[in-house]
Amino acid sequence: MSDLPVFPKLPAALRPRARAGLSFALPRLTIWHGFGLTALLLICASVAQAANPAPLQKSIFATLVQWTPLLLRGFLLNIEISFLSMAMGTILGIALGLGLVAQTKPLRQTSWALTQFFRNAPWLALLFFMIYLLPYHMRIGGLHISLPDWLKAVVGLGLPVMANVAEIVRGGVRSIHPGQWEASESLGFTRNQQLFSIILPQAFKRMLPPWMNLYAILTTNTTLASIVGVNDVVTRAGQVLAAAGNNPGLLAPVYAYVLLLFFIYTYPVAIATRRLERRTKVRI
C-alpha cells in the first residue's frame, strides 16, 4: 500500500481535464500541490527572515530563479544516477531473485545471504564502501577507464536496489498459486519453461508496483551521493548558498526548492504505482 497524503478534490469545474496518455495527471499536481508547497516555502522563508533580520540583496524569488539552471543541472545528475543504479540493480536483482527461487540449495543459500546482506546494510555505508573500494582508474588491457565519483555512487546505490529487486522477484514468484506449478508440471514443462512461460509472466504484473515504489525511494536516496562528494543537487544547493553570501535567510527556501524538485519528480511515480496496485488488485 502507498502512504501518500490524500488531498481534497477540487470541484469538477476547477479540475483540469485529464489528458489522454499522460494519465497520472501532472497538471493537477502543479495547481494544487504546487500551491501548497510554494506556500510552505514562503512560510519557511518568512520565518527564517523574521529570525534573522539581515537584509537580502535580492528577493528570495529572484535568487532562486537566478540559480535554477545550476540546481537543475545537479538535479539532472540525481536523475541520471537513479536511472543507472535502477538499471544495474534491476538486472542484477532479477538474476539474484531467480537464485532465491532456484531448486539447487547452494545457489539458493548464496543468493539468500547476498540479499540479506545488501538489504539490511545502510545505503550510506554501502556508498562509502564503494567510494573507497573502487579505484579512480582501471586499466583493462590497453584501455584506461576512469571511474568518476558519480559512477561509483551508481554502483554503491545499485547494490541495495539489487537486493530489494531480488526480494520483489522472490515475492512475485511466491505469490503465484501453487496450482500453476502443479498444472504446468503435469503437462511436462521443465522447471525453466514453467518459470519463464507461466510463472514470471503472471508475477511480472504484481512485481511492477513495488518495483516503481523502490525507484521512488532510490531517487530520493540519490542525495546521499552529495555526502561522498558527488556534484548533485544537494551539493549544488550548498554552493548556491555560499555564492549568495551564506545568508541564513536563504537556507530554508533553497532546500525547500530542492524538496519541491524531488516531489514533482517522484509524486507522479507514486500516483502511477498506486493506480497499478489498484488495477492488479481488481484483476487478480
Partner: protein, 244 residues
C-alpha cells in the same frame, strides 16, 4: 492382470510423521474407468498425484505402461506425456487464452509445429463444445467452461491415461453436468480414466470399478452395481448411507 495400463502395488506415502497412504494396490486395464471415492483426508488426491510423480513416495511401485514411477532415474517428461491430469481448481494459465492454454504444452514440451497444434487445439475445443470461446481468457469463462478447457489442454498431449482430481468439486451445481458429460464422452471413446470424485451417480453409471478408500487404505472395491447395491464393509456402508 498383466495387461493393466496402470498398476499400483503396496504404495506408501508419508508427510513427515503422518502416513497418508498405507499400502494401496490397484490395477486399471486399458480403456477402463476407475472411480476412487472416500471421506476427505483419506489420501485420494495424494494417491493420484503419486501416479504422475507430482508427489514423491517412499515405498511401493507405480507403473504406467510399464514405466516405473518410483525410480530415481525416472524420465518425468516421458511419464507425463502418457498421463494427463485435471485439477479441482482448473489451474488454467490466466495470462493466456483458452486456445493458447491448449497449445502451449504440445508446442513447448513436444516441440510440434504451430499450424498442426493449432488445428488440433481447435478440434479439441470443439470436442468440449467451446470452439466459440477459443480466444477468451480464463477469467472470462465460467467454472464449468474453464474445467472443460483444462480437459482439452490435457488431451492435447495425447495421453494414454487421464487423472481427474475432484474436478467437479469447485463447480456450481448447474455446470457440473457439462463437465461430467465431457468425461463420459472420453470414457466412451476408450480413454483410460482414474477419477477421484464425490459424484456417486456418475461413478455408478460410468465406472468399471469403484474403490472406497479410508485412512490411507482401500477398504473395498467392486464393479459399481455390486459396490453400490451390496457393499460388504461396515465403513463403506456408513459412508454410502451418508452421501446417497
Amino acid at each position: 492382470m498383466a495387461d493393466a495400463l496402470l498398476t499400483i502395488e503396496n504404495l506408501h506415502k508419508r508427510f513427515g510423521d503422518v502416513e497418508v497412504i498405507k499400502g494401496v494396490s490397484l490395477q486399471v486395464p486399458k480403456g477402463d474407468v476407475a472411480c476412487i471415492i472416500g471421506p476427505s483426508g483419506s489420501g485420494k488426491s495424494t494417491l493420484i498425484r503419486c501416479v504422475n510423480a507430482l508427489v514423491p513416495f517412499e515405498q511401493g511401485s507405480v507403473k504406467v505402461l510399464g514405466i516405473e514411477v518410483n525410480d530415481p532415474k525416472l524420465d518425468k517428461l516421458k511419464l507425463r506425456r502418457h498421463v494427463g491430469m485435471v485439477f479441482q481448481q482448473y489451474n488454467l494459465f490466466p495470462h493466456r487464452t483458452a486456445l493458447q492454454n491448449v497449445m502451449m504444452a504440445p508446442m513447448q514440451v513436444l516441440k510440434r509445429p504451430r499450424a498442426e497444434v493449432e488445428a488440433e487445439a481447435h478440434a479439441l475445443l470443439k470436442k468440449v463444445r467451446l470452439e466459440n470461446k477459443a480466444h477468451a481468457y480464463p477469467g472470462e469463462l465460467s467454472g464449468g467452461q474453464q474445467q472443460r478447457v483444462a480437459i482439452a489442454r490435457s488431451l492435447a498431449m495425447r495421453p494414454d491415461l487421464m487423472l481427474f482430481d475432484e474436478v467437479t468439486a469447485a463447480l456450481d451445481p448447474e455446470t457440473v453436468g457439462e463437465v461430467l458429460i465431457t468425461i463420459r464422452q472420453l470414457a466412451e471413446e476408450g480413454m483410460t480414466c482414474v477419477l477421484v470424485t464425490h459424484e456417486m451417480n456418475f461413478a455408478r453409471e460410468v465406472a468399471n470399478e469403484v474403490y472406497f478408500t479410508d485412512r490411507g487404505v482401500i477398504v473395498e472395491h467392486a464393479p459399481p452395481a455390486q459396490f453400490f447395491g451390496n457393499p460388504q464393509d461396515e465403513r463403506t456402508k456408513t459412508f454410502l448411507s451418508q452421501v446417497l
